[in-house]
């Protein structure tokens, strides 16, 4: 049998395989270059970017929980200027699309940043984080109110011709309503889920474990919630959906594709196994070979309900 075709296209971005790295778990790509052949994965999504450098939250910022982890990094990042100067040069050397995840505190900031990213040739597309639960004004409203989501996506849409992916928060009553609002505002693709808001308590100190009190839950613990939301959204919208949440293996990734995802992102798994993204792509290929499937796209939404 010929090698199966793992390529997919998301919002006009061609990926050699459906495995991307999730924002905030893979730095700017460079950090993992020693462990992963970056040219064997579908795309690199960089750490959430803002206009100015951002300090983030006090520490402790992370805590392990059963089957998952909480983080309250607070979107610490270098800001767009340092990004262009220090991170883009490395991304330029890698023959893999770089997608820039970003956020703002206001509509104007979102639009401004989208506009600046529009001018950077190395940026294959943008992913809007409207869902970060850690920062009081950094997305919590945009991510849980369909009208606000609509306006922020619209503002970004008008500021860039690059492909626009909107990353959805799972902390909502109705994920489909959020998805519709983003698609109405002409999002090219949706990615989900961002982290579920959670908390950890230290009985010894009688304090929250995280300095920020609450944080975002990720990892295999959240996979069932993520799969459910991906399935709901993929059945409701026509744009491609990118599945995220607890993906640790090729099997996990393929389950998301059956549920309707056209591609996936790998987050927490990068911490346990820095080569996870490359391994997952390989495991997907193996599955296709073993099952005589010539094209991974056959599996998208192939779940029989």
């Amino acid at each position: 049998m010929n090698r199966p075709d793992l390529s997919v296209e998301i919002a006009g971005i061609k990926l050699r395989n459906p495995v991307m790295t999730a924002s905030g778990t893979f730095g700017y790509g460079e950090e993992f270059a020693e462990y992963v052949n970056l040219e064997k994965i579908g795309a690199i999504i960089t750490k959430g970017l803002s206009i100015k450098p951002k300090a983030g939250n006090p520490t402790p910022r992370i805590q392990e929980t059963t089957g998952g982890m909480l983080n309250a990094i607070g979107l610490q990042n270098v800001g767009i200027d340092a990004f262009i100067e220090k991170k883009v040069p490395f991304l330029r050397t890698v023959d893999t699309p770089a997608i820039v995840n970003f956020f703002g505190n206001t509509l104007e900031e979102y639009a401004e940043l989208a506009g600046r990213l529009d001018t950077i040739p190395e940026v294959a597309g943008v992913e809007i984080n409207i869902s970060c639960p850690n920062v009081k004004h950094g997305g919590i409203v945009f991510g849980t109110d369909p009208k606000a989501a609509y306006s922020v996506v619209k503002a970004v849409r008008e500021a860039t011709i690059k492909p626009v992916i909107v990353k959805l928060s799972p902390n909502v009553t109705d994920i489909v309503e959020m998805a519709w609002a983003c698609v109405d505002a002409e999002a090219d693709a949706l990615s989900l889920i961002n982290t579920l808001t959670g908390m950890a308590v230290d009985l010894k100190t009688r304090r929250p474990v995280l300095a920020n009190v609450t944080g975002g839950l990720s990892g295999p613990a959240v996979k069932p919630v993520a799969l459910r939301m991906v399935w709901q959204v993929a059945n409701a919208v026509k744009v491609p959906v990118i599945g995220i949440g607890g993906i640790m293996t090729g099997t996990d990734a393929l389950e998301f594709m059956l549920a309707g995802a056209s591609a996936v992102q790998v987050g927490t798994a990068n911490f346990l196994d820095p080569a996870a993204s490359e391994r997952i792509a390989r495991e997907m290929e193996q599955y296709l070979v073993e099952n005589g499937i010539s094209d991974v796209k056959e599996l998208i939404g192939a779940l029989q309900v």
Binding site: G24, T25, F26, G27, E31, F32, E34, Y35, K47, P53, K54, A55, G56, T59, P60, R61, I62, Q63, E64, T66, G67, G68, M69, N71, I73, Q76, G219, P220, M248, T268, N270, F271, L272, D273, P274, A275
Partner: protein, 271 residues
């Protein structure tokens, strides 16, 4: 680099403290004192994250078979505090473990002419043995070692065998002097006027006291920090500490995993 190691030995050296030797690729022989490893304790999801441990020792042993090449090993010294270290403590000779190493920047060995003062609190001595081994060939080394009680005082003989002058103190006086290791250290270093550098690893209150002494006496000082870590490679930003110039508008956060775990004390914000 990432590699599968075989456990050579794993012994309880004091109640709740284990010393573990694992095999390593030859490249690890170049690891610097102060660098650390991230262990995947089980090939499963519980515990989920890797656990960081200092490098207690690195070495190369000749092969048992003539003509074969020699083999490199890493040693770790760890305290059982939770499920990761508990699981580690059950491993035997021949078991396997996934390792990322060496990580982080190490200690700066500095000027051989000056005296080296090592200060370790409890399990904080873990990275100091390999450091002492590297320093003692060239410099005078004094090692101050403290703990709550005698069970927390580890590996004194090993340090002394290197030719390091070792001073023990415990909070309850059950071994060595009674008192804080920092007090004992301060008494000794104030006595003489020689040029020296301090290297310290241990709990935060100890490090703060050491940094205070360093500042007051104008002594250069390197500290090795701990932090909760997810990635160990500067990507997640979970492990940061405030650098000396930190301000909310102009953040100066340093990653313990990548910029550290060793920092010159005057590069950090101590409040």
């Amino acid at each position: 680099m990432q590699f599968k190691a075989t456990i050579v030995s794993n012994q309880e050296v004091s109640p709740g403290y284990f010393r573990m030797r694992i095999t390593a690729p030859p490249e690890l022989a170049g690891a610097k004192p102060g660098q650390f490893v991230m262990l995947r304790v089980r090939d499963a999801i519980d515990p989920l994250l890797r656990r960081p441990f200092g490098i207690f020792d690195v070495g190369t042993v000749p092969s048992e078979y003539p003509g074969c090449c020699s083999s490199t090993y890493l040693e770790l010294l760890y305290k059982v505090v939770g499920k990761g270290t508990e699981t580690l403590s059950t491993y035997h000779h021949g078991d396997h473990i996934d390792v990322i190493a060496p990580l982080g920047t190490g200690f700066d060995l500095g000027d051989p002419e000056e005296e080296k003062i090592l200060v370790g609190g409890g399990i904080g001595i873990a990275p100091l043995y390999y450091l002492a081994k590297s320093l003692v060939e060239r410099s005078r080394v004094r090692f101050f070692l403290g703990g709550r009680n005698r069970d927390d005082i580890l590996c004194v003989t090993e340090f002394e065998r290197l030719g390091v002058e070792t001073y023990v103190s415990t909070d309850d006086g059950t071994l060595g002097d009674r008192g804080l290791v920092t007090e004992v250290m301060e008494r000794h270093i104030r006595e003489d006027g020689r040029e020296k550098t301090i290297y310290a690893c241990g709990p935060m209150p100890m490090l703060k006291a050491v940094a205070g002494i360093a500042r007051q006496t104008g002594t250069p000082c390197q500290v090795s920090l701990e932090a909760y870590m997810a990635c160990g490679m500067g990507a997640c930003l979970g492990c940061v500490v405030k650098g000396k110039d930190h301000a909310d508008e102009n953040p100066d956060y340093r990653c313990v995993c990548k910029d550290g775990p060793v920092f010159a004390f005057d590069q950090l914000m101590w409040v």
